[in-house]
Amino acid sequence: MAASAARGAMALRTNIGRPVAFVRKIPWTAASGELREHFAQFGHVRKCTVPFDKETGFHKGMGWIHFSSEEELHNALQQENHIIDGVKLHVQPQKPKALQGDQTSDEEKDF
C-alpha cells in the first residue's frame, strides 16, 4: 500500500514545473513531426508526443509538447490560432496535477 502510494507520487511528479502544452484536435493527417515543426517557432521543443492507438493505427487527436522553458510555452499559448493542415488546434497548458514538497523546480530545470 505504501509502495503504491509512493508510485502514485512518482506519477504526479513527472510534470511538475515542466513547461508542457497539451494539444487537442490534431487532424489525423498530422503526427508528432508536424507538431514539432509547428511549435518550433515558439522555442526549443524538448519532446513532442502524439500517441498512436496500436489497435487502429490512428492517433487520438491529442498530444503533448514539452518546451525548454516557461517562456517558450507562454509564447505558444499567446498565439491565438495554431493551424496545422488547415485545422485549428486547441492548445492549453498542461496543469501540474499536484505539488510535491521535497522536489524543487530549480533542481530539475536543467534537463
Binding site: 505504501a2 509512493a6 493527417t29 490512428f58 487527436g61 488547415g86 533542481e107
Partner: protein, 1300 residues
C-alpha cells in the same frame, strides 16, 4: 426518449383535421373498385416501398401502446424495464439527432439484448421497427435479413410475439421492398395463433399493391368487409399505388374520386402516392400538374414528401427531373437530416451521382470554413465501394462548392479506416498531385488490419504501396506495425527480399535494434553496436534501451553497452556530448522504474554504477542532483553515493574552493595555532557532499579534538549512506560524549536505525529508537513511512528477528501507532517465503494485539490461488467473528475479483442483504488505479450495478481516473456522458474536455445531455473559453435541448464584459422562441447589449437604443419592469465615468420628459448601493419623483434585507428618503438588516423614532429587536414576545391574508 414515444410533430397535421364520423358505409364495387369506409383518421403512416419513411412516423406507433411496462408482470420486470429504457435511449438518441440508426448501434443494442438473456415484447418491437427505413446505410435485402435475424433470435430467447410484432415486421417488409406472399404471412400468423387486425390487413393490401396485384388487394379488402373493419385513407393511397403499378394510371387517378364519394377527402398521403406513381413512370408533366393542384388546395406537402418524389424519379431511372423537384424544396428546419438520409439511401442504391446532386443543392452556409459538409456522403461512398475515380471527382466538386475544406483527406481517412488499399492509393496520388505531403503514418491503419490477422501478404502489399507512392517506412512503421506480424525479424527481411519490397537497410537495422532492445535482447544490442558502421544518435535508442535494460538484469551487458555508447564516436557525436547523453539516460532509467523496483534492484544498480566508474564514464553534476532527488524520493538514499562517484568533477564550479584548498588552509591555521573548528566543519561537510567517506574519517581522526557537533552529524549521515554501520555507531558514541544533550535531526536517526538493523546490530538500533523517544524527536508522517520502509526492507530480506523486534520497539515506545501499513512487514515476511499458514497466523496475531488485519487481502488472494480451502475457511471464520459477516464478504469479494475468479466474486456481491460500503469500495478502486488493473476495475463497476446504496458516480469516477491514466480505453456514449458530467460537477474541466475529445474521436455523433451541456457552458465561461461556450450552446440547441438559465445568462454576461455585442446578438437569435422555456428575461439582453456597447465606447448607441425602447409606441417591455440595475451596477463598478454621466442624463430625461421613473430610480438605488451617497443625493435633488417610487424602493429594501452586510446601505437610503420609515415593509426590512449586521445603534435609533411616532410595532419586529439587544448584553425596554420567530412570522402572514 421522447422522440421515439411521442407522436411526431407532423402528426399534428393529421390530428388537426376534423375527425370524421365513425359511421360505416360500405360501397358496392366490382374488381378494382375499392371497398371504402369512413373511419377515424389514423396517423400518416404510409406504406411506400423502400420508402423514405420518417422514423418518427415509424415509431409513433409505439405510442399506440401506452401500457408499455405494465405488460410484463414477471419477476424480471424491473430489469427488463431498465434494459428497455436503456436500449430505447440509445436508439432514440440516434434517431432524434439524425433520423437514422447506424447499423453498428442497432447491432450493439441487439447483442446486448441477446446477452441479457431475455427481451420484453416492447424491446422486441423496438428492434424490429428499427430495421426499415431507419437504416438508409444498409441495402434493402440486408435490412430484411437483419429483421429476420432479430425475429428468430428473440423468439429463441422466449419473447412472445403479438399482433403488433407481426405488423411491425410487415411494415419493415414494405419499407424494404421485400417480396413475400401475404397469404403465407397470414398463415404464419394463424399458426402462431395471432388474430390479424385492421393494421395487418391494411399493410397486406399495401404489400399486394406494391406488387401491382389489385386482385390480391381486393381479396384482403373483402376480409376487412366481412369483419366490419373501417377502410382508411392509407388503404386508398395503397390502391393508388396498386393501380399505377399494374399499369392502370387511369384507375389510379380514379381512386381520388372514389374516396371523395366515400366521404374521405384525399389527403397529402394520397396525393403523394399519386405523385410517386407518376414519378415512377417518369411523367414530369403530371407530377408538376399534381403539385400545382396540391399547392392550390389547403393541403401542403412537406420537404420530406418532395424528397420521396425525388427518390421515386431516381430509382425509376429519371434523374434528369431531380433538379425541378429540388427547386420546390422550402428547406424546413428538419430538412437536413432527411436529406442526408435520402443521400445515404441513394448511395446504397448505387445512385451516387444523384445523391451528389442533392448534396450540392443543400442550403449550407459556405462562409464558415470550420464546418465541413458532406463527410457522411463520402464515408458512405467509401463503404459502398463507389469507384475511386468517381470519388475523386466528388471531392473536387465538394471543394469547388466550398462545402468541404478537405474532402480528399477525409475520404482517404475513410478508406484507411475501411482498410481499402487500392482506393487509398488512388486518393494519396490525387493528394500528392495537389501538392499535399503523403506521410508515413497514413499507412499504419492499413498495416494494423493485416497485423491482427498475421497476414504477411497483406503487409507486403501495403509496403509495396508505400513504395509506389514514394514513402519510405520508418523505424516506427517496422517496430510497431510490421515486425509483430512475423515470427522473427529475420523472416521479415527474407519475406521483403522475396517479394521485392525495397527497404532502407539502415532504417531497417535500427528498427530491428529497437525491437530487440524492447524485448531485452541485450547481447544483440551489444554486438550490433560494435559492428555497426552507420553512426546514429544515442537518444533515438534511449526509450527502447531503457525498456530492454529493465527486462534483462545482466549488469555486465548494461555497462558494456553504456560504455560503448559513451565512448564511441558513432553514437554521441552530436552536442551536448556523451556526458550529458549518458547522464540523461541514467536519469531516465531510474525515473522509469518504480520505487519498489529500484529498492529490489539496489544491488544491481550499485554494481552498474561502479562498473561505469571503472570504465571512466562521467555524468554532469546537475543531472546527478536530479538522480539524487529521485533516489531520495524512492527511499534508497544509499545509492546516492554510488551515483556521486560518476560526477564529472573537472567541470564543477571553479569559483568555489576545492576540498584540497580548504585542507591546506586548515593545515596552515593549525600550524599557526589558530582555532580550526569552523574550517574543519566546512571541510568535513564538503567531503560529505563529495561522498568521500574515507578522507572525511581520516580527517576526523586527525583533528578529533577540534570536531564539533555539526561535523559529527554530517559524518554519521555519510557513514549511513555508505552502509558503514561500524563507524556510524562509533561516531554516534563520540557525538554523545561531546554533548549528551545534542539531538540529531529525525532523518539521521532513522538512517541510523536502518543501517544498524541491516547489519544485525539490533540492540543498538533499538537504543537509537529509545533515544528518539527520550529526546522527544519530532516524528512526522514521513518518519512513519521511513519506519515502514526499514521494516519492509528487512522483511523482503527475510530477517524475521529484525522485523519483529524493531516493530515491537517502535510500537511499544509509542513512536508510531500500529497500522495496516506499518505492521504489514510482519506478514510480508511469510508471504515472501510462501509460508501461508504463518502469514495468516501473523495477520490474526496482529488483530489480537492491535485490532488491525494487515495484508489480509493479499493473504486471501494467495490462499485462493493455492486453493487452500481450510485456511480460507479459517480466515473467514475469524474475520466474520471479529469484524462481522459483511466485512468478511467484502474481503472475499475483493480477493476473488483480484484473482480473476469473477463468477465467485459475483455470487458474493449478490448475497442478499449486502449493501455498499463506500470506503471499502474506494480502497479497492484506488488499488486498481495504482496497479493499472483496468479489467478488474471494470468488473467491479459491472458487478456492483445492483448493489444497494452504491454510489455509481464515485465508481465511474474511479474508472475514469484509471482510464485517463491509461489513455486507451473506449467507453460507450452513455458512460462518457456520465463521466464528463461528473468531472464538470467536480469542476475539473480540463479533464472533462480531454474525455470529451476521446469520446468524440471514438463515438460518431457523441452528444451530451442538457444538464451536462449547461455545466459545460458555465465552466467554459469561467475559464474564459467564450467561443467554445457559444459552440456548446449552439450544439445543445441544435439537439433541441433547453440549456439552463444560469448557463445562458453567464455566457451573455461574459460576452458583455468583453464588449462582444455580436455574440450576444447571436445568442439572442439562437434562443429566439425559447426564452420562456429557459426562463430568460428580455432585460438580460437589453442590459448586456448596452453594457457591451458601452465597453466598446459606443455609449451613445447604447443610450439611444434604450431610450427608443422606452419611448417608442410599441414597447416590448412594460417600463415598470424595465430594470436596468444590472447595467448601472456594472457601469458603476467598472468606474466608467463618461458612461455613467450620460446614463444619468438619460435617466433624468426619461423621468422629466416622459414620466418614466423606473430607470432613474434604479440608478439612484445603485448609487446608494455602491456607497456613492453624495451622487445619489444630488440625483434625488434633481429628480424628486424618485422618492415617490415606493414599489421600486420597497422591492430594493426587501432584497437587501435578505443579504448580510447591507445595514449601511439601508441606513443611507433611510437618510436620503426619510419618509420610507412610514412604510411597514421598509422599517421591517431595516430592522432585519440591522439585526443581520448586529448594528445595535442603528436599531435603537430606528426603534426610538418609530415609538416617537407611536407606530404600532408587530411582534415579529419586537422579537427581532429584543434578541438583538439581548445578544448585545443590553436590557430590553419591553416584554420580549415569548414565542419563536416562526410563530410570529406565521402569525403576521395570516393576519395579512385576512386583511386582504
Amino acid at each position: 426518449m421522447a422522440a421515439l414515444l411521442r407522436p411526431a410533430r407532423w402528426l399534428l397535421r393529421a390530428a388537426a383535421a376534423p375527425y370524421l364520423p365513425l359511421s360505416l358505409r360500405l360501397l358496392a364495387g366490382g374488381p378494382g373498385r375499392p371497398h371504402a369506409a369512413l373511419c377515424l383518421r389514423a396517423a400518416r403512416a404510409r406504406p411506400v416501398a423502400g420508402g423514405l419513411l420518417s422514423q418518427a412516423r415509424l415509431h409513433s406507433i409505439a405510442a399506440e401502446k401506452k401500457n408499455y411496462l405494465q405488460e410484463e408482470p414477471t419477476s424480471s420486470h424491473r430489469r427488463n424495464a431498465s434494459q428497455f429504457d436503456w436500449a430505447l435511449m440509445r436508439l432514440d438518441n440516434s434517431v432524434r439527432r439524425t433520423g437514422r440508426i447506424p447499423k453498428t448501434l442497432l447491432q450493439k443494442v441487439f447483442d446486448n439484448t441477446c446477452h441479457s438473456g431475455s427481451a420484453g415484447g416492447n424491446q422486441a418491437l423496438l428492434l424490429l421497427r428499427s430495421c426499415g427505413s431507419l437504416l438508409p446505410e444498409l441495402k434493402l435485402s440486408e435490412r430484411t435479413e437483419f429483421a429476420h435475424k432479430i425475429w428468430d433470435e428473440l423468439q429463441k430467447l422466449g419473447t412472445v410475439y403479438d399482433v403488433s410484432h407481426y405488423n411491425a415486421l410487415l411494415k419493415v417488409y414494405l419499407q424494404n421492398d421485400h417480396k413475400f406472399s401475404p397469404t403465407d404471412f397470414l398463415a404464419k400468423m394463424e399458426k402462431g395463433n395471432i388474430q390479424p387486425n385492421r393494421v395487418t390487413y391494411q399493410r397486406l393490401i399495401a404489400a399486394y399493391c406494391n406488387m401491382g396485384d389489385i386482385e390480391g388487394a381486393s381479396t384482403i379488402l373483402g376480409f376487412m368487409k366481412t369483419k366490419d373493419l373501417p377502410v382508411t385513407e392509407a388503404v386508398f393511397s395503397a390502391l393508388v399505388t396498386g393501380h399505377a403499378r399494374s399499369g392502370d394510371m387511369e384507375n389510379a387517378e380514379n381512386i381520388l374520386t372514389v374516396m371523395k364519394e366515400a366521404g374521405i377527402e384525399p389527403g397529402p398521403d394520397t396525393y403523394l402516392a399519386l405523385l410517386n406513381a407518376y414519378a415512377e413512370k417518369g411523367d414530369i408533366d403530371h407530377v408538376k400538374q399534381t403539385l400545382e393542384k396540391v399547392e392550390k388546395s389547403d393541403l401542403y406537402l412537406m420537404d420530406r414528401d418532395l424528397l420521396q418524389i425525388i427518390l421515386s424519379f431516381s430509382k425509376a431511372g429519371y434523374p434528369q427531373y431531380v433538379p425541378e423537384i429540388l427547386e420546390k424544396i422550402t428547406y424546413e428546419r428538419r430538412y437536413i437530416p432527411d436529406t442526408m438520409n435520402l443521400i445515404l439511401l441513394l448511395v446504397t442504391e448505387k445512385l451516387e451521382d444523384t445523391a451528389l446532386q442533392i448534396l450540392l443543392a443543400c442550403p449550407i452556409s459556405r462562409e464558415s470554413s470550420q464546418n465541413d459538409f458532406g463527410s457522411f456522403f463520402l464515408r458512405h461512398c467509401v463503404t459502398m465501394n463507389t469507384p475511386a475515380e468517381k470519388l475523386k471527382d466528388y471531392c473536387k466538386k465538394l471543394k469547388e462548392a466550398q462545402l468541404h475544406t478537405s474532402p480528399l483527406q477525409f475520404t482517404l481517412q475513410c478508406a484507411l479506416v475501411a482498410q481499402k488499399l487500392d482506393l487509398a492509393k488512388v486518393l494519396m496520388k490525387a493528394l500528392k498531385e495537389e501538392g499535399f505531403p503523403i506521410r508515413t503514418h497514413y499507412f499504419w491503419p492499413l498495416l494494423v488490419g493485416h497485423q491482427k490477422e498475421k497476414n504477411v501478404q497483406g503487409i507486403v502489399e501495403v509496403l509495396k504501396g508505400m513504395h509506389e507512392i514514394g514513402v519510405t517506412p520508418d523505424q516506427e512503421t517496422y517496430v510497431n506495425y510490421v515486425f509483430p506480424c512475423f515470427d522473427s525479424i529475420k523472416s521479415v527481411r527474407a519475406v521483403l527480399q522475396e517479394n521485392g519490397c525495397p527497404h532502407d537497410d539502415n532504417v531497417f537495422s535500427q528498427a530491428e535494434l529497437r525491437s530487440k532492445a524492447v524485448n531485452g535482447n541485450l547481447d544483440y544490442i551489444l554486438s550490433f553496436l560494435e559492428s555497426n558502421t552507420l553512426p546514429f544518435s544515442f537518444s533515438s535508442l534511449r526509450g527502447s534501451l531503457i525498456l530492454g535494460f529493465r527486462r534483462s538484469m545482466n549488469i555486465n551487458l548494461w555497462s558494456k553497452i553504456t560504455e560503448l555508447l559513451y565512448k564511441d564516436g558513432r553514437y554521441c557525436q552530436e552536442p551536448p556530448g556523451p556526458t550529458e547523453a549518458v547522464g540523461y539516460f541514467l536519469y531516465n532509467l531510474i525515473d522509469s522504474m518504480s520505487d519498489s523496483e529500484v529498492q529490489a534492484k539496489e544491488e544491481h544498480l550499485r554494481q552498474y554504477f561502479h562498473q561505469l566508474k571503472e570504465m571512466n564514464v562521467k555524468i554532469p553534476e546537475n543531472i546527478y542532483r536530479g538522480i539524487r532527488n529521485l533516489l531520495d524520493s524512492y527511499h534508497v538514499p544509499e545509492l546516492i553515493k554510488d551515483v556521486n562517484i560518476l560526477v564529472e568533477r573537472e567541470k564543477t564550479d571553479s569559483r568555489k574552493p576545492s576540498s584540497s584548498d580548504l585542507e591546506s588552509k586548515l593545515e596552515k591555521l593549525k600550524a599557526e595555532n589558530q582555532p580550526i573548528g569552523d574550517i574543519l566543519k566546512q571541510l568535513i561537510l564538503m567531503l560529505c557532499s563529495e561522498e568521500n567517506m574515507q578522507k572525511a574519517l581520516e580527517l576526523k581522526a586527525k583533528y578529533e579534538s577540534d570536531m564539533v557537533v555539526g561535523g559529527y552529524a554530517a559524518l554519521i549521515n555519510l557513514c549511513c549512506r555508505h552502509d558503514n554501520a561500524e563507524d556510524a555507531l562509533n561516531l554516534k558514541r563520540e557525538f554523545d560524549r561531546l554533548d549528551s544533550s545534542a539531538v540529531l535531526d529525525t532523518g539521521k536517526y532513522v538512517r541510523l536505525v536502518k543501517v544498524l538493523g541491516k547489519h544485525g546490530k539490533l540492540q543498538d538500533a533499538i537504543n537509537i529508537l529509545k533515544e528518539m523517544k527520550e529526546k522527544d524527536v519530532l516524528v512526522k508522517d514521513a518518519t512513519v513511512l521511513s519506519f515502514f520502509h526499514i521494516l519492509n526492507g528487512a522483511a523482503l530480506r527475510g530477517e524475521t528477528e529484525t522485523v519483529k523486534q524493531l516493530h515491537e520497539a517502535i510500537v511499544t515506545l509509542g513512536l508510531a501507532k500500529p497500522s495496516t501499513t506499518l505492521s504489514s512487514p510482519l506478514v510480508t515476511l511469510y508471504l515472501e517465503k510462501d509460508d501461508l499458514p504463518a502469514a495468516l497466523e501473523s495477520t490474526i496475531d496482529c488483530y489480537e494485539k492491535y485490532k488491525i488485519l494487515p495484508r489480509i487481502h493479499d493473504v486471501l488472494c494467495k490462499l485462493i490461488e493455492k486453493g487452500e480451502t481450510e485456511l480460507i475457511q479459517k480466515a473467514m471464520d475469524f474475520v466474520s467473528q471479529e469484524q462481522g459477516e459483511m466485512t468478511m464478504l467484502y474481503d472475499l469479494f475483493f480477493a476473488f475479483l483480484q484473482t480473476g475468479n469473477y463468477k465467485e466474486a459475483k455470487k458474493i456481491i449478490e448475497t442478499p442483504g449486502i449493501r455498499a460500503r463506500p470506503t471499502r469500495l474506494q480502497w479497492f478502486c484506488d488499488r486498481c488505479i495504482a496497479n493499472n488493473q483496468v479489467e478488474t476495475l471494470e468488473k467491479l463497476v459491472e458487478m456492483t450495478q445492483k448493489l444497494f446504496e452504491c454510489d455509481r458516480d464515485q465508481l465511474y469516477y474511479s474508472l475514469l481516473k484509471l482510464y485517463t491514466k491509461k489513455q486507451n480505453i473506449v467507453f460507450d456514449n452513455e458512460t462518457y456522458a456520465r463521466l464528463i458530467n461528473l468531472l464538470l460537477m467536480k469542476d475539473n474541466s480540463t479533464q472533462a474536455m480531454q474525455v470529451k475529445d476521446f469520446a468524440e474521436t471514438h463515438i460518431k455523433g457523441f452528444t451530451l445531455n442538457d444538464a451536462a451541456n449547461s455545466l459545460l457552458i458555465i465552466t467554459q465561461v469561467r475559464r474564459d473559453y467564450l467561443k467554445d461556450a457559444l459552440t456548446t450552446l449552439k450544439t445543445a440547441l441544435d439537439l433541441d435541448q433547453i440549456p439552463s438559465r444560469l448557463a445562458v445568462t453567464r455566457l451573455i454576461q461574459a460576452c458583455a464584459l468583453k464588449g462582444d455585442t455580436e455574440s450576444i446578438h447571436d445568442i439572442q437569435k439562437l434562443v429566439n422562441g425559447l426564452e420562456d422555456s429557459i426562463g430568460l428575461s428580455r432585460m438580460v439582453f437589453i442590459n448586456n447589449i448596452a453594457l457591451a456597447q458601452i465597453k466598446n465606447n459606443n455609449i451613445d448607441v447604447a443610450i439611444e437604443s434604450i431610450e427608443n425602447m422606452l419611448t417608442s409606441e410599441n414597447q416590448t417591455v412594460d417600463p415598470q419592469y424595465f430594470g436596468l440595475a444590472y447595467l448601472f451596477r456594472k457601469v458603476i463598478e467598472g468606474q466608467l465615468e463618461p458612461a455613467l454621466e450620460k446614463i444619468s442624463i438619460m435617466a433624468e430625461r426619461l423621468a422629466n420628459q416622459f414620466a418614466v421613473y423606473k430607470p432613474v430610480t434604479d440608478l439612484f438605488l445603485q448609487l446608494v448601493d455602491s456607497g456613492k451617497v453624495d451622487d445619489a443625493r444630488a440625483l434625488l435633488q434633481r429628480c424628486g419623483a424618485i422618492a415617490e417610487q415606493m414599489p421600486i424602493l420597497l422591492v430594493f429594501c426587501i432584497r437587501n434585507s435578505q443579504r448580510p452586510g447591507k445595514a449601511p446601505v439601508m441606513k443611507s437610503l433611510l437618510e436620503l428618503i426619510p419618509e420610507l420609515i412610514d412604510k411597514e415593509e421598509a422599517y421591517t426590512c431595516l430592522m432585519k438588516s440591522y439585526v443581520f449586521d448586529n448594528d445595535v445603534t442603528s436599531a435603537k435609533a430606528l426603534y426610538e423614532s418609530l415609538t416617537a411616532k407611536n407606530v404600532k410595532l408587530n411582534d415579529l419586529f419586537l422579537k427581532r429587536y429584543a434578541v438583538l439587544l439581548k445578544n448585545a448584553g443590553e436590557s430590553v425596554p419591553f416584554t420580549e414576545p415569548p414565542e419563536s420567530f416562526e410563530f410570529y412570522a406565521k402569525q403576521l402572514k395570516e393576519s395579512k391574508e385576512t386583511h386582504l
